[in-house]
């Protein structure tokens, strides 16, 4: 069974891009267009990893992340945050704590800045799931 990755982004194009990219590299994907549906799907689908866009209407990626990390059922699921918000360096340092002031919430597994560096993104996934990429 390939690892199942959930993509949550309000832009359908970004969802299509990430789905195609990950599927081409041997991953299974599921997706949701916003945080409200996203939270429901995570509970139903129990993905191996979740990619969340930060800027979304209705419920932001940060609010969704907060809910995942405080829900005992799903808090162990690794989460990647993606945004054009700012560089990974700036985000990891101060921005995350500014956005999530609750210190009991751990930092996300990884932050990727849009447009994502495909090589780094896939490299990270492969390393995380510790297996060789079959290639497109």
């Amino acid at each position: 069974m390939p690892p199942k990755i959930m993509i949550i982004d309000d832009e359908p194009e970004i969802v299509m891009y990430l789905k195609t990219l990950l599927e081409d590299h041997g991953y299974a994907t599921v997706s949701a267009p916003d945080g409200v549906q996203g939270l429901r799907f995570i509970k139903e689908e129990k993905p191996d990893l979740v990619c969340i866009d930060i800027m979304m209407p209705r419920k932001t990626g940060i609010a969704l992340y907060h809910e995942i990390k405080t829900d005992p059922q799903i808090k162990e699921i690794p989460v990647i945050l993606i945004s054009a918000y700012e560089s990974a360096y700036a985000f990891k340092g101060k921005s995350f704590r500014r956005l999530v002031q609750d210190k009991s919430i751990p930092e996300p597994l990884r932050y990727f800045e849009k447009p994502i560096d495909v090589k780094a993104f896939l490299g990270f996934m492969d390393e995380h799931f510790a297996r060789k990429t079959p290639g497109p």
Binding site: E11, P12, I14, T20, L21, A84, K114
Partner: protein
């Protein structure tokens, strides 16, 4: 028969004895021949003694010269003298020396009377001390603006050598100042206060607040004016400093607005880049998989992102072109009226009533007409969208223009969808839109805020989900940009 005049036996000697100040009679050999009771009380019985000894003791050895003159010319003389009494206190006396005539042209005696004026003298000294120690500049001028009296602080600060007139002392000038308050006091007998800039005797610029008031009135005119001035240089410096800080704050706010706008733009551009890279990837993937549907999806991604580029670039150029606002005298209500007219029909077609509450008598203000117009148009257009997304029956937008306490206020209120906390938080800080894909670039509010900040104003809002939103533009007149000279109407 003529009635006999009653003869009054004046108890002359007794009367002399009881005069309530000290009196002595001196003969031509300067011998004291008679003293009254008060004299005796103060100095003892000096009858038969030469007056010299007494007056030496009283500390007035010149008395004899005074007496000689009066014996010679018969004129009354007055002098003041001081002496130390038995308790060691200095007492002040007003001494009168008057001739005592014998009726045949001779002056056999002088009568000397001394009044104790110590209380008055000490009061005068106290007043003088007070006058000198008042911690502001006090001076008294006559009608030719000559300073006839001045307190210690005035003398220390302004008294320069050779100067006599107030304008010489206060300003080192050689003529009466154009806005002199004393001139008005002499004319109207009223009190006037003015802010003046002078030069102290070291040549330092001094700001002072001067109040001039009538001091002495002779007949129906004022012939002395008192001027009291307070050094306000520190306050003026502080005022300058506050003004400079205000300006710096305004500049900083403007820079911050530009910075946030640039950050917002960067965010938008990064999203488009991701869309383009994604499009290329999906096209390639479609080709290699031989999946025409995926290929078509990728192609659509490319097309829609190229369209986004075009929209963003146009709006960005719009934004960049407006980077420097051009202000001219503008009727603030005219902008609101034009925007209301522009959107009324379109709103009506969507079943929205657009009402305008525009106050007529608002003074012209230095505004960028196009800029404010596009801000209001943006807010009204957002309100139309918010109403369109709502399923209410009576959709309504109100555009208000008024002035409150020197601040021009525009308000755009709608009863549309309203905004939740997350949307509100991001409203101005990010390149953010809630509108369906392709309908908004998220630049509108950024541009609005930038233009309003350039005017020194602010944009605020109140919103409740399901109830609607209110956007408010506030433009304080004192923070508005200055009119450029060429923009001023011809005189």
């Amino acid at each position: 028969m003529k009635k006999a005049r009653p003869v009054v036996q004046w108890p002359r000697k007794a009367m002399f004895k009881q005069i309530p100040f000290s009196a002595a009679v001196i003969d031509r050999s300067f011998t004291i021949v008679e003293v009254n009771r008060q004299f005796e009380k103060e100095f003892g019985d000096w009858r038969g003694e030469k007056c010299l000894g007494l007056y030496k003791r009283r500390g007035n050895p010149n008395f004899r010269a005074l007496a000689s003159k009066t014996f010679k010319d018969g004129k009354t003389r007055v002098s003041s003298e001081e002496r130390t009494d038995d308790q060691g206190n200095v007492r002040h006396y007003m001494v009168h020396v008057a001739p005592f005539r014998d009726g045949k042209g001779g002056i056999p005696y002088l009568i000397e009377m001394s009044f104790d004026i110590s209380d008055r003298v000490s009061l005068e000294k106290e007043y003088r001390l007070l006058f000198d120690h008042v911690p502001c500049f006090v001076s008294v001028l006559d009608e030719s603006f000559r300073i006839v009296d001045a307190n210690e602080m005035f003398r220390r600060t302004f008294l320069r050598e050779g100067a006599q007139y107030c304008y010489q002392m206060y300003k080192g000038s050689d003529k009466v100042c154009s806005n002199c308050p004393a001139v008005k006091v002499f004319k109207t007998k009223k009190t006037y206060t003015r802010l003046q800039v002078g030069l102290d005797k070291e040549g330092n610029r001094t700001h002072y607040m001067v109040t001039a008031a009538p001091f002495r009135i002779r007949g129906d005119r004022v012939d002395r004016v008192i001027e009291m001035a307070q050094n306000v240089s520190d306050i003026m410096d502080l005022r300058e400093q506050i003004k400079r800080i205000e300006q710096e704050k305004l500049d900083a706010e403007r820079f911050a607005a530009v910075g946030q706008t640039v950050a917002g733009l960067a965010h938008g551009v990064k999203n488009i880049l991701m869309g383009l890279e994604g499009g290329i990837y999906v096209v390639n993937s479609g080709l290699s998989r031989g999946d025409t549907e995926l290929l078509a999806n990728g192609w659509n991604m490319l097309q829609s992102n190229i369209k986004k580029i075009s929209t963003v670039v146009k709006e960005y150029l719009n934004f960049a072109r407006g980077a420097e606002i051009k202000v001219e005298p503008v009727d603030p209500s005219r902008v609101a009226r034009e925007v209301a007219d522009l959107y009324r029909d379109a709103a009506q077609r969507s079943g929205i009533v657009l009402a305008a509450h525009i106050k007529d008598q608002i003074r012209e203000a230095p505004l960028d007409f196009e800029g404010i117009h596009s801000c209001l148009a943006n807010l009204v257009s957002n309100a139309v969208d918010a109403c369109n997304m709502s399923d209410k029956k009576n959709k309504r937008i109100t555009l208000t223009c008024t002035e409150r306490n020197g601040t021009i206020v525009y308000e755009v209120k709608d009863n549309g969808t309203g905004m939740d906390y997350e949307v509100k938080k991001k409203l101005f800080t990010n390149f953010f839109t809630t509108k369906p894909s392709g309908q908004g670039t998220g630049l509108g509010l950024l541009v609005t805020r930038r233009i309003i900040h350039e005017h020194g104003g602010k944009v605020g809002f109140e919103s409740a989900i399901g109830k609607g939103s209110l956007f408010r533009i506030e433009l304080p007149r004192k923070r508005l940009p200055k009119l450029r000279k060429e923009a001023l109407p011809e005189a």
